[in-house]
């Protein structure tokens, strides 16, 4: 998080992490599509090759509060392919919250786990305790066959403390919820650490409801079969 007292700005960095081809960029594209134009920047994609992210995607969002404070939200994706590890570590620097985009397909269990281990390792190498990082997990690609069942995911989720979301990012389903969950848990953490309400009169509820309002009506998840 970055605080600029002079410009009365708070900048929050959120990173979409996950294995290659799990739909990180697709999440950002869906957010960009679903949001109303106000306070929404262009979706910037840095260096793509064959539709694969090489550096990162960046979507800037802005929320102007009644108190005259501006909340700037920067959404980043990391490149998922194994070889881009140093890029992932760089993008992860200064992250306030992470959304882990997992692939729901049963065959992708290992890829998800390897990427999550990679996330923990990179956080540690950046000097951050992984357990202290606000995190939400999204099980994406719910529309594909051979995906892990919702019951099973929820059973596994009950053993962890992170919020879990189900999504079909290509249709935009679950994308807004994931984002709202991410900014929510990130905000709670920043509030604990920086006392934003007390010190700056930043009202979490106002920011949240403004963002929620900017997303159109919720997109229904379409299930396979």
């Amino acid at each position: 998080m970055q605080l600029d007292f002079q410009a009365r700005e708070v900048t929050v960095k959120l990173v979409y992490y996950g294995p290659a081809l799990s739909g990180k960029t697709t999440n950002l594209q869906a957010i960009h599509r679903l949001l109303t134009p106000e306070g929404k920047g262009r979706l910037m994609t840095l260096e793509t090759r064959d539709d694969r992210t090489l550096f990162f995607d960046l979507l800037p969002l802005t929320v102007n509060t009644e108190m005259g404070l501006t909340v700037r939200i920067k959404l980043f994706t990391v490149p998922g392919q194994v070889i881009h590890n140093s890029t992932r570590r760089l993008v992860l620097q200064g992250a306030d919250g992470v959304a882990f985009i997992a692939d729901s397909q049963v065959a992708e269990v290992r890829a998800n786990q390897a990427s999550f281990k990679d996330l923990r390792k990179n956080l540690r190498e950046n000097g951050i305790d992984p357990a202290a990082m606000p995190l939400v997990i999204q099980y994406n690609k719910r529309d594909l066959p051979n995906v892990r069942s919702e019951e099973e995911i929820m059973r596994m989720a009950s053993q962890g403390k992170e919020r879990i979301y189900l999504a079909t990012a290509t249709h935009g389903a679950g994308v807004a919820d994931t984002f709202m969950g991410l900014i929510g848990t990130t905000w709670e953490n920043m509030e604990r650490q920086h006392k934003l309400t007390e010190r700056f009169g930043l009202n979490e509820q106002a920011v949240m409801s403004d963002l929620r309002r900017r997303f159109g009506p919720p997109v229904e998840a379409t299930k396979h079969g």
Partner: protein, 475 residues
Amino acid sequence: MDESKTADISYGEIANLEDLIDRDSLREVCRSFFDLFGLSIRVFSQRGSLLANVHEERSVCRYVNSLTKGRVACAETVAQAQMLVPEGGTTVTHNCFTGAVYHVVPIIYDERQLGRIVIGPFLPSETNEIPASLLHIDPQVEPARARLALAEMPRVRAQTAGRIATHLRGVLDLILFSGHRARLTSAMHLATVRENYRELSEKNTRLQDAYDKLKELDRLKSNFLATVSHELRTPLTSIIGYSEMLEAGIAGDLSPEQLGFVETIRTKGELLLQLISSLLDLNKLERGQLSISTEYVDPRAVLAEVKDTCLPEAEKKHIKLELSWHQDVPAVQADPVRLRQILINLVSNAVKFTPDSGRVDLSVKTTEMRVAQGDDDDDDAGGFGAALMMAPERAVEFCVKDTGIGIPEAEIAKIFDAFYQVDGSSTREYGGAGLGLSIARSLVEAHHGTIRVASELGQGTSFFVTLPEAQPDQA
């Protein structure tokens, strides 16, 4: 990397217009707008630096500036227009006493005001009359001249001016977006290279440590081998010596059976001693401690000696041992003892792996080889000075060719490794410690020569040892 670049990557933020814009491109864009709409355009950064300035002095401005008071008033108006910073993201209009106006349009990127565009002066289309402010700005103003000059000022409707501004802002926004992306990309490139370099450096350090440890282990192994070999040899010498004495009957006559047993003890003891000597040789070779005293050696003479030595062994298996050479084979610079050791090793190997009634051919001929000069060989790799450096020298090639079992292709690369046996099973047909070829290769290399092998499974194997011709100045 400076602080701002790191911040770029962390948040993808851009604070200054100057960082994003290529001034020449911006000037070109402004020039094309000027050509299209006939309106002067100036672009300022938020800090007030003029980044592009495409304008034409209007007739009325020229006329006003020719008057003393007019000049002062004009300078003031222009300065005010240029200093005006629009608030809240909306366009501000600044009026000139001539009736013309300036539009000051904010440049907003990523929800931040990074600068402003000053469009004008132009005359709003709605203006029909020459304003009193122009007539009264200077006592010397002549209304007729002023009217004529003002008529040349471009006339734009307020709505059109708004559209032009929006269009220019849109174009500028795209330029800024491209600039932003290019800047982030280059910052990412740099940061990634640095990060990779850091990572590789750490890995290199770890590898170097591991390498140093291995080298130390290797040294310990060599020392251990040297000590153990030595310790083994001492009692073995006694075993062989006493066996010889028993055989010679010094301790009394032995029955034929006893004699047979003692002979076995002695020959096995000698085999063991040979093995231990080989280990010591290898150890010395690996540590570069084996001394080689070279002299002119006639290859043919050495080959003949080798044949004599190996003949009994070959005859036991009814193997034909044939010798052939060219008359003009030059001398080599070699240690005769070691050269014999190399060749005997190859020949006894050939005999060992050739079935009964087979054939082993020994030959020597003149050939050419590339001799490594010094140890800066890496320079040759790129073909640098190849015409000179790749020139071969005259050399001598020994060949030991058998009709034995041959070596599988996959194994050929490994046969020179110490302790390697093609058939490594405990029930293998052919004995040996797997040291002979390793020692032979080390010895050949100590002579600046090469050793290679050609083999066909079931047909036979040929070993070639190539040594450079003796150089006169080395004598």
